[in-house]
Amino acid sequence: MDKNTYSIIGSNKSKETVERLANIIFTICAFIAVLAVLSISLYMIISGTPAIFEVGLKEIIFGTVWRPSGAEPSYGILYVILTSIVGTFMSIIIGVPIGVMTAIFLAETAPKPLAAIVKPAVELLAGIPSVVYGLLGILILNPLMYKLESAIFANSPNHQFTGGSNLLSAVIVLAIMILPTVINISESAIRAVAKDYRYTSLALGATQIQTIFKIVLPAAKSGIVTAIVLGVGRAIGEAMAISLVAGNVTNIPFPFNSVRFLTTAVVAEMSYAADTHKDVLFTIGLILFVFIMLINLILNRIMKGGKENAK
């Protein structure tokens, strides 16, 4: 501090100004997040709604033909929405049991040296960029899927072969990508269960497995649900990893069809779309945004419920 501020009561004006300024600046910083969420919502709505008036909400959401550049363009994205829902659901079905089992391993049954290998591996998986997952999906998963496809549909001439770029490949990539999220959140939920529960159960003669599945998991329920919801959010919003793996054709979401997700529809066509086509892509973005906001609200509910239970 400079020499002029020795007095307690003395000339504090400049100091006070600095204090007030600091307060104001920090307050502004804090409100950036609020501002960002508000403006993202606003802009998604502003840029997503024109197409609804141009094409019609019913035609977009319930239409099944995607032909943006035809002579009579058609912008139905029912299959795209269904693909996102079905694909997310399937990846949760695969990823969550594996993730929760791994979390049980890390929190309950693992010998220390083994946990010390698995835990960093999970952390590293979480850090791998999504494009790298996509690259590996194309070069490892797709050929495998093609073999499987050829074996299954060898005798059905009506099947359109996809070369392995299908819903199933994308689902497997998504399942792997949500693993770290599910594992980390469920692990901390399982660890948060009071030790007394376990001791009581074991003392009554239950085995370790019985204790885990009948006592610990039910007690960690809200945390595991949180993990699942976060997994859904991660899976439904993933774009780059699956955009090439899924084959990118608007199609009914059957396991061996090339399909297109909400996210990949935007990634694939944004660069050259114009006019109505572009507006519809923003509508797709808006639909995705609505899904995400619903997930966020559900998450907020669960967290609040968890806190009240804790009291």
Binding site: V18, C29, A30, I40, M101, E123, P129, L135, I236, V267
Partner: protein
């Protein structure tokens, strides 16, 4: 019913089965990681050379390097951090030191939470419409940096907040008690004490930026050339307003064009960076825990 002895355990095949299942599931993560690392390493190592990381793609010279993308990535990292660190740290200071608990804090924390749940493709669309079209920044490093700022803001805010929470209250009272003003106390006592946490947040953010792709595709664009220096080096600043593709974008584009050698080489570089960052965060959080010990 002779074997009622406590020492005789009832065999439980189901338990063993589930035990096995748990081990299999846990080993899956390791197997997947090992597959990824070996496959990317095996395919990528042959394409990486000094030439590859120091040249730009040129049909005349016959090079396919990624120097331009590396520079672009650095630009985006630095620019994003320059904007996001003051904002994020400032927000955390407000939440932890100035605000009274109540509706406002809950609102800010809820929106921060929401922000971290929005997928990057939405940020990409928003960045394209808002920064690119409305603010007329077009496809540029600045547009990309501003978009990424929104993505890493929650990370920095949350980590700083956690770090500030671990600073004992006696530090604050002690500083205020001997006559320091609030801002002086924050500047000289709180921020240095919370530094490891803040740095952890920054390192995590760098990892997020390096791996980000969907948010950059429509905002920063896909240039791969080195910035032109200009007469006085002013080109280095002009670059901020020009498009530039990061490593991930270049990886995606070469994947689209089925140039898998380049793709794997970039993937390997990305993995090395990401794993390095992971180690660094571990080291930092260990240090943070040491500091927490009384």
């Amino acid at each position: 019913m002779q074997n009622k002895s406590l020492y005789k355990k009832k065999p439980r095949p189901l338990d063993w089965f589930i035990h096995g299942l748990i081990y299999i599931c846990a080993s899956l993560s390791i197997i997947i990681l090992a597959c990824i690392v070996t496959y990317v390493g095996y395919r990528g190592i042959s394409s990486i050379s000094w030439n590859f990381i120091t040249t730009v793609p040129s049909a005349i010279k016959g090079t396919v390097g990624i120097a331009g993308n590396i520079i672009n990535t650095l630009y985006i990292i630095i620019l994003t951090l320059l904007i996001a660190i003051p904002l994020g740290v400032g927000a955390a200071i407000y939440l932890n030191e100035y605000a009274k608990p109540g509706r406002v804090v809950r609102l800010i924390e809820f929106t921060t939470e929401t922000l971290s749940g929005i997928p990057s493709i939405i940020f990409g669309l928003f960045g394209y419409v808002f920064f690119g079209v409305t603010l007329k920044l077009g496809y540029s490093i600045l547009t990309g940096g501003l978009t990424l700022t929104l993505i890493i803001l929650p990370l920095i805010t949350r980590n700083t907040q956690e770090a500030l929470k671990t600073v004992p209250d006696s530090y604050r009272k002690g500083a205020l008690g001997i006559g320091a003003s609030k801002w002086y106390m924050i500047r000289t006592i709180l921020l240095p004490s919370a530094m490891p946490g803040i740095v952890t947040g920054i390192v995590l953010s760098v990892g997020r930026i390096v791996g980000e792709s969907a948010a950059l595709l429509f905002t920063a664009g896909s240039g791969y050339l080195l910035p032109k220096l200009g007469d006085y080096g002013e080109g280095l600043f002009k670059k901020i307003l020009q498009p530039g593709g990061t490593l991930t974008i270049e990886l995606y584009l070469s994947m689209e064009k089925a140039k898998y050698d380049t793709a794997f080489a970039i993937a390997l570089i990305l993995l090395i960076i990401v794993f390095g960052i992971n180690l660094l965060t571990k080291y930092l959080s260990n240090k943070l825990n040491l500091d927490k010990r009384p």
